[in-house]
């Protein structure tokens, strides 16, 4: 057995004192652990984790730009093939729904204020998991399954009404696009691209705000940034990495279904 290189971690926490506190506590409990990156928002957490590929990520749940859960989702979708997926530890002050979901899961979570003994138990668990590391693909599979449960555990949006027509504005012109003519929606920064057979529109709304207004039986989320009308999917071809490539009726382009959602495309 060869000596493993020192494990590295990423700390994503928007409150500077709390990040410093976690770093200090980890230094005392796990001197070998190297803090590869310390970031204050979810988008930087994804970028830095993809760049450094740490073994462990501590993700605060409530952060600007992307929440800890959204960052985890982005990592699971974009993580390169063959590299061990990081062990995720979520940190939260008070998010009941998230805690309930974690309880049933193997991913660890910590509650603020961090208690030394609890952190020590978490470190022991992480060390055991790293020493007995499952093959990369298997670990990713496991995390993907856990994230699926977590994302499904988010509270449903109350009082959301279903959209029937989308009002897309360009200049002074407002186009009325019936929702059932939309082939797919795609997130583009703070906008959403609305794609029909003939044309595409931009609407000033995030996908997160749009999703609760769509019927989940009709419009399937296939990626954190893509929602497709199921009847417009002509075929799905799965590849070894767990993704699926979707060809469409009425559009020439191919869409990608991420690891988190590709399980929907199984033969009957």
């Amino acid at each position: 057995m060869t000596t493993l290189p020192a494990p590295r971690c990423l700390i994503a926490e928007d409150e500077p004192l709390l990040a410093a506190g976690l770093r200090a506590d980890l230094a005392a409990l796990w001197p070998a652990l190297v803090v590869a990156a310390e970031v204050g928002d979810g988008a930087s957490a994804v970028a830095q984790a993809l760049a450094w590929r740490p073994e462990v990520c501590f993700l605060d749940i409530r952060m600007p730009a992307l929440s800890g859960l959204e960052a985890a989702q982005a990592l699971a979708e974009d993580w390169p093939e063959g590299v061990p997926f990081p062990l995720l530890v979520f940190v939260t002050a008070y998010d009941q729904y998230a805690l309930q979901a974690f309880d049933a899961q193997a991913v660890d979570y910590l509650v603020k204020p961090l208690d030394r003994q609890r952190l020590a138990a978490c470190v022991a668990r992480l060390q055991a998991r790293l020493a007995d590391r499952a093959p990369a693909a298997e670990a990713l599979q496991q995390t993907v399954a856990q994230l699926r449960t977590l994302l499904g555990a988010a509270p449903p949006q109350a009082g959301a009404t279903r959209l029937t027509v989308i009002q897309a504005q360009t200049g002074n012109l407002v186009r009325m696009v019936p929702v059932d003519e939309v082939i797919y929606f795609e997130a583009a920064d703070k906008y959403v691209r609305v794609v029909t057979a003939e044309r595409e529109h931009l609407i000033r709304l995030s996908l997160r705000e749009l999703l609760p207004q769509l019927d989940p039986a009709v419009f399937w989320q296939v990626h954190r940034g893509t929602v497709v009308q199921a009847r417009c999917i002509a075929s799905a071809r799965r590849d070894d990495s767990g993704k699926a490539f979707l060809s469409l009726h009425g559009r020439p382009e191919t869409l990608v279904a991420s690891r988190l959602y590709a399980h929907r495309f199984k033969g009957l």
Binding site: L17, L18, A24, D41, A93, V111, Q157
Partner: protein, 372 residues
């Protein structure tokens, strides 16, 4: 977390004003009294007089309360059929509602009662149409007096019961509003994050930790007493906001900048305690926290004519972000401020929320309060 949802519902069952047994009890007492009086006046048998007295009294009561129960039952059923809540206001309640019933009772009660009495005693009373007969005059006089007395007593009892029920309801609504205010101010996420920061500070900078604890003490004390005190000076309001913002400044570090501007001559003006708190919290939560680089909060007080103008402005995400935010508690904060304004100032105060119309962007919340 939608904390409002966990509160008990404000729905209070409609006060059971028309309690038939009250009228029945009073009618029985009245019937015995009338039988006694008649026995003394007429020197007849008390038993027979009691039977007739009860027969007539209960007939009158049956007309009044029977009609009331039937009418209100029909009204409820009609409401239910129209999809409304069945527990609306009852009809035929109080003096005005009961008088037409009393007239009906005086018309139909005595002949009905005499018929029943005849059947029970096997006797044969003088027809009530013979107005000259002494017995007819006595029967009608006692029926009218009895019915009116009964209507008066029952309607008075009902009025008292309704007043008591509405006082209880008002008290309950006030207690719930107080609890909601407290829950919104002691938001667990804020509290535990503050404690987490404090825990770290104790280890690295004890003096700063003590200062933070002082701010937390002042903030908690103000929050707990805010629901009791009616007004406090504007200077105190600014001091409590400064405590809260000092806590947030420790948490957010350089991402939060604060400017407070209270002119000396306005410092002693009275305002409802922690009125601005929900607006400042909204600025932090929906304006600055979602921004990677944070921003600035300006809180100002000005006098414009006969109005005190308080403004909370941030350089954050702008009002659109709060409106579409998935968390509903932001909207709840504004509702709460508007409710308090309406309670304290009636229609003379206002709250507006708009995009801060300059290059720095963000949201501007403005309160206009009357000075007198």
């Amino acid at each position: 977390m939608p904390t409002e949802a966990s509160l008990p519902s404000t729905a209070v069952p409609a006060p059971a004003v028309s309690r038939p047994w009250r009228g029945l009890l009073f009618t029985s007492v009245l019937c015995i009294a009338i039988a006694v009086v008649l026995t003394v006046l007429d020197r007849g048998g008390f038993g027979t007089k009691l039977v007739y007295s009860f027969a007539i009294g209960l007939s009158c009561w049956a007309v009044i309360d029977g009609m009331r129960i039937a009418v209100n039952g029909l009204v409820r059923r009609a409401r239910r059929r129209r999809g409304e809540t069945p527990d609306g206001p009852d009809f035929l309640v109080g003096w005005r509602g009961m008088l037409p019933l009393a007239l009906l009772a005086m018309l139909f009660g005595p002949p009905l009662g005499l018929t029943v009495g005849d059947a029970l005693t096997g006797g044969r009373s003088t027809s009530l149409l013979q107005f000259g007969a002494t017995s007819t005059r006595l029967t009608l006089a006692f029926s009218i007096i009895g019915t009116l007395a009964s209507v008066f007593v029952v309607s008075t009892l009902e009025r008292l019961a309704a007043a008591r029920a509405s006082a209880e309801r008002a008290q309950r609504v006030a207690a719930e509003a107080q609890l909601r205010l407290l829950q919104s101010q002691l938001e667990p996420h804020m509290l535990f994050n503050t404690l987490a920061n404090l825990r770290v500070l104790i280890g690295v900078d004890a003096a700063r930790a003590q200062a933070m604890l002082d701010h937390l003490n002042a903030y908690l004390r103000a929050t707990l007493s805010a629901s009791r005190a009616v007004q406090h000076p504007l200077a105190d309001e600014f001091a409590r906001l400064a405590d809260y913002l000092a806590l947030m400044a420790v948490r957010m570090g350089p991402r939060l900048q604060v400017r407070l501007d209270l002119p000396e001559e306005l410092a002693r003006l009275p305002v409802p305690p922690l009125l601005l708190q929900p607006l400042v919290e909204n600025s932090i939560k929906h304006g600055l926290e979602p921004q990677v680089d944070g921003g600035r909060i300006d809180i100002t007080a000005r006098r414009v004519g006969q109005q005190l103008v308080l403004a909370v402005r941030d350089t954050g995400a702008g009002p659109g972000a709060a409106a579409t935010c998935t968390d509903t508690s932001g909207g709840f904060g504004l509702v709460q401020v508007r409710e308090r304004l309406a309670t304290v100032y009636g229609g003379r105060a206002s709250l507006t929320l708009q995009a801060a119309g300059d290059a720095e962007g963000g949201t501007l919340a403005t309160l206009h309060l009357p000075l007198s």
